[in-house]
């Protein structure tokens, strides 16, 4: 018997194909990506909800494994797409999470040792403004932007994840970024 060489890593597509007859093989996909997908969800919804939604994501993926497009070796866009859909069901929680980020940024202004001085710098205020601007994006714009920023998917992968065209990814992205920079420019003049 020969030991498997370290480089012999099956593609995600191969593993998913095997899992159609041998369901336990899907555990390989879980082991490869659970932590990353959990982190993505955690950043968008907070830790406590992330536990449930990440678990649901892999269960939903398992149920849909027969429909996975085997021409795509990398399963990440597919998994992030499922996660993003599930995140979309928690709109209020998303808003609350952005509010928490905003509060954290504002609290940092208060907590700073030289608060009266640095409040004028509004660096943290800009972070707060960013949280607010992200909360105000449309769901479609936000999903595209956060898959790029947090999940670090490519434009093509985002298109696959969300089932939209490559061109739509580009246009949503530029709209989202334009909105953010408009809002941030208003708060970025630090001089008193």
């Amino acid at each position: 018997m020969t030991a498997p060489t370290p480089t012999a890593r099956s593609s995600d597509a191969d593993v998913i194909a095997e899992s159609r007859d041998r369901p336990d093989r899907f555990g390989v996909i879980f082991d490869r990506y659970f932590a990353d997908v959990h982190r993505y969800i955690e950043r968008r919804l907070g830790t406590d909800l992330a536990d449930d939604v990440a678990s649901d994501t892999f269960l939903a993926a398992f149920d849909k494994r027969h429909r996975y497009d085997l021409s795509r070796p990398d399963a990440r866009p597919w998994l992030y797409g499922i996660a993003t859909n599930l995140i979309g069901k928690h709109r209020r929680r998303q808003t609350a999470q952005f509010r928490a980020y905003k509060q954290a940024a504002m609290a940092a202004v208060d907590d700073d040792h030289a608060d009266e001085v640095t409040a004028r710098l509004s660096a943290q205020l800009s972070r707060a403004a960013l949280a607010e601007a992200l909360a105000k994006l449309s769901a479609g714009e936000r999903d595209v932007l956060l898959l790029l920023a947090l999940a670090e998917l490519t434009h093509q992968e985002i298109a696959e994840a969300l089932g939209i065209s490559y061109g739509t990814v580009g246009s949503r992205l530029s709209r989202a970024r334009a909105k953010l920079s408009r809002r941030l420019r208003r708060t970025s003049n630090l001089a008193p």
């Binding site: 955690e42 950043r43 830790t47 449930d52 990440a54 928490a100 509060q103 954290a104 972070r127 920023a149």
Partner: protein, 358 residues
Amino acid sequence: MNDLDEIKNLMDPPPGLTDATVQAARSRLTAAAQGTARPRVRSRRRRTGGLLATASVLAAAAAVAIPSLRDGDAPAPAAPEPSGNILVAAAERIGSAPQGTGRFWTTHLQIGTTRVVGKPGRSYVIEANNDVRQWTGKPSYQGDRFSGWHPWRPVDRQTWRRDGAPGTWSETVGGLQGTLSSRASGGGVQKLQEELTFMLSGRKVTADQLRTLPTEPAALRDHLRRNRGPAKEGAISDAGWLFADAETLLLEAPAPPKVRSAAYRMLVGLPGLREIGPVTDALGRPGSAVALREPERPGTERWLVVDRATGRLLSTQEVATRSGRIGRQGVRTAGDVLTYRAALAARWTNDPPKTSTP
């Protein structure tokens, strides 16, 4: 840093994935694979204050300017020198001071912060401060003047001249370009709608409430621990809280002399606290310092600088403990003062200030 990094930094709650969560999700999947029942594994995580806790942890991380160096601080002395001498001497002196009286408690504080600017190899430190005067009473008054940014020490002034003596500097924070201007602003004193209060243990307290604080060190410490604001719990060490409370009681709040004395004594023996000895503060005034190092604030320590003759607290300052990048303050040299709060006056008076219309 571009906008994507900035989003990533903003949306960065403390990672909360535990082995238990992985196991629960994995066994749920295994159950599905085996075609057996799938128990809905609800998270057992406590939800109370989850978001707030997240917010406060982030706040602490952001406020302290986490250094990007990972090599750790220069180790604090294994057996810390006793910090008792300076603190006990100060407690004795301040405790025998007379209890003042007056319609207003008035303070004059200078609150400063610094940045490193200029080109690599030709960098220099600039400083800006707020000069804040307060009259706490009924009614209360406040005035502040912003100094604008300027080169700090003589050596910084020289480098600044070689840099072309600019009047503004740009600062990039979180991908946003901002301007640090040398222009001063503010200055007038105004009557306030509400009575001024002081932050103690993360809660607002009035001058009247300060009179009822315990005058025994252990009792004061217990009182402060019991009354802590909930939002910051967990993000600041116990020593960090008590140190901050002592700063408030000794630097700016009208605490009775016996409470101030207890505030010094309750710090004796705190973990991470050590005695530094004779120093000059950020404004160049001589005093004795004790310092607190907290694991939550790597690369920095906080100093109390005490006037030996009177036991009064002259200033508190945040000091770099190693050379390297320290968050927003840039690449610093060990011993650099990063931020400071200095008391120029703190006394009782019957005279309200002259106010100015804004």
